[in-house]
Symmetry: C2
Subunit: 416 residues, 2 copies
């Protein structure tokens, strides 16, 4: 069973809206062994919508369309679909009552334009949308299934969850797929490829390995496709184990989770705690850790010491240190890390200081110069980095490397 997603709306093609719907839909279909062959984003133009429907039906069995179901004149998905299926639009009384009730609830008169929301394709089964005014529609036509959903993310998600996904759950008939992830930290992509080249080469055709690099991390995805679910699970597990044994301790997770999650879990399990002292990262390190549910079990707080006075007053960085070595120096980040560990009372602390840019660089410390220190239970490690001139990227790279450095010391000290 192959699927396609068609997202309809000028705002996507104008770059005003990032299409997050497609990733959500794909992820939920993949979990049910339905693979997305193509995602197509097109404008609100009837010829283009019809062409996309035709092309998708040539490749795939399930076509999910989102967007273009609103009441205003620019939304034409329904009219286009009616023409495409050669079926009329008819008034659905239940939907009409629902739309009316929404306006009644706010005690507002319903603008006439909203009557159009209750018009549905005659050949469709209506997917009742209690979260908004535009109903979803399910059409079976010449052996293919077409689903039309509103583009508003939470309406789309609710209609998918309550109507569409339960129906498609049983379709994973012929092709089964088993997937495993290995999250690898601290090894460059090409080194990793070299390290596992012979294993990769000996994999059978139906097992695919993908490298998904992120800042400082690589996710390896193993994908086994075939007809027998049980043996695929066994097989993919075996290959994951072989890779994992080869890569060793650089494998930080065997599921698809962010690195911060790995750190939060490991710290919580080991009963360790963390704080940060941030200059150039300006709070982003703390923000990325606290975005993980349950971070409060191990993360106590952060001093964002943007100003040098704050570094002295809150982190006990010596005035001499700042005067002699400057804020961007190994000496300063070391004192910042030790200061944070002490004043916030944690077992580990990370400190960052750097010239994020675009200005503020000098000959000795050009834009992109960053120092990171990590204070642990027994020692402090520090490292200098030279990044480039993009402020946001420099901050992201600093965060990624700070987490790697923390992990390095934590693993060493806790002998993991």
């Amino acid at each position: 069973m192959k699927a396609e997603i068609i997202t309809i709306g000028d705002e996507i093609l104008l770059g005003q809206t990032v299409d997050t719907n497609s990733a959500w839909i794909a992820q939920n279909l993949v979990e049910r062994q339905i693979y997305v062959e193509q995602i197509t984003s097109i404008t609100d133009t009837s010829t283009h919508i019809a062409a996309a429907l035709t092309a998708a039906a040539e490749r795939s069995d399930l076509i999910i369309c989102t967007g273009g179901l609103g009441p205003t004149n620019d939304d034409i998905t329904k009219q286009t679909a009616a023409h495409y299926f050669q079926t009329p639009l008819i008034l659905n009384e239940e939907v009409m009552g629902h739309v009316q009730s929404i306006f009644d609830r706010y005690e507002k008169p319903m603008p006439e334009i909203n009557r159009g929301q209750a018009m549905v394709l005659k050949n469709a089964e209506v997917l009742f949308n209690e979260w908004g005014t535009a109903p979803g529609m399910w059409v079976e036509h010449q052996g293919k299934i077409y689903v039309f959903l509103p583009g508003v993310p939470f309406e789309m998600k609710n209609l998918m969850t309550h109507w569409v996904l339960p129906r498609v759950a049983d379709w994973r008939a012929v092709e089964r797929v088993a997937i495993r992830y290995l999250v690898v930290a601290g090894i460059g992509e090409s080194y990793l490829a070299e390290m596992i080249a012979d294993i990769e080469q000996s994999m059978p055709e139906h097992i695919r390995l993908a490298y998904l690099p992120q800042f400082g991390l690589i996710k390896l995805r193993l994908n086994a496709a075939g007809s027998a679910a049980d043996s695929l699970e066994r097989e993919v597990e075996e290959w994951a184990s072989r890779l994992s044994a080869r890569i060793g301790s650089a494998v930080v997770a065997t599921e698809d989770v962010p690195f911060q999650q790995v750190i939060v879990n490991a710290f919580t399990k080991e009963g360790c705690s963390l704080s940060t002292a941030e200059s150039c990262t300006g709070g982003r390190l703390a923000a990325e850790i606290t975005e993980i549910p349950g971070a409060s079990a191990m993360f106590l707080g952060s001093i964002v010491a943007y100003d040098n006075d704050v570094k002295q007053k809150f982190l006990n960085v010596g005035a001499n240190t700042l005067a002699k070595y400057g804020a961007v120096s190994g000496e300063t980040v070391e004192e910042m890390a030790m200061g944070a560990k002490k004043v916030l009372g944690t077992t580990y602390a990370i400190a960052t200081s750097g010239v994020a840019g675009p200005t503020g660089g000098t000959a000795a410390k050009p834009v992109g110069t960053v120092w990171i220190a990590v204070a642990g239970e027994k020692q402090v490690i520090k490292r200098k980095f030279q990044f480039k001139d993009d402020r946001v990227v420099n901050i992201q790279r600093t965060v990624a490397n700070a987490l790697l450095l923390l992990w390095e010391l934590f693993r060493q000290e806790r002998a993991l």
Copy 2:
């Protein structure tokens, strides 16, 4: 001139990666009057890549492909393109030297696999990528232009900015366009639409108004298209002024800048300073402000007080206050804001505390309950919000509302 974007990579079709590249590319092309006809996301499969290239070339003149240029075996865009154009891949010495130099810089031997990065399409002009190892390529073939870029966002953005966009800037030969932005803070979209309905209705056909809503903000984009650049500029300026006069002080910027930029500029100009005391936002408020170049002129620091002890020790929040009202309360955020203002020595301070979720909610304070306070020169204001159950969205909404609340008090106190 019509364009298409093709994003290549299994991770997109599996829903693991949200395609943010396409929106960025589309936005930058639209600013140069090049409209995107279709965005197509496909797997790393050579037949599918070739079919997508063929289909795009039938519709459009400029085809921008991202992804699939890495050194590992799963990346096959280059080989597929070579076959599609019937051209060989040849070694580019300059790229080879650059790739080698990256490894030299870190004093590591270069894995053999990276030699593949220096192989380029013979019929291509190489777009030198100093931000990574995969070069971009520009191919002119049978009257169409094909651009191949790596999928890593900052490499793609740099190659677009330095190589591709400067070249396409001159293509808007016939049609000229003038654009103005108004950033509007603190007014809902439908209220804003009502407020300016008569102005919008009286606009001539060739001037278009778009609403681009974000968390707490709406960007209005005015777009005037025609043949005479000078008069278009005058016209769009006049309409922007009319809208601006009607909307009044809710217009916080007349160019396309993030709200934090508006705040950094205004604080710097007025000689005011800012600090934050963050519980549920965990440093994200500080991080978003310090992402703006020049933020150090007005932002001194933040106490991320995730733990209650940190709230007491660093922000002077009373133990009684915490015991009586809890960490998520108007009383606590008020003390946090006053504490941050005092200990960090700033003229303004923002404090946040809430139940970000997914756990930690109670009947009285369900997940999504958030308190925000802003301490200014003369007073403290605080407000309660009830968001929903998505942790990351709750943090983003808190940040957006905290900035709005800060702006409200700042404008009032400074009589702006």
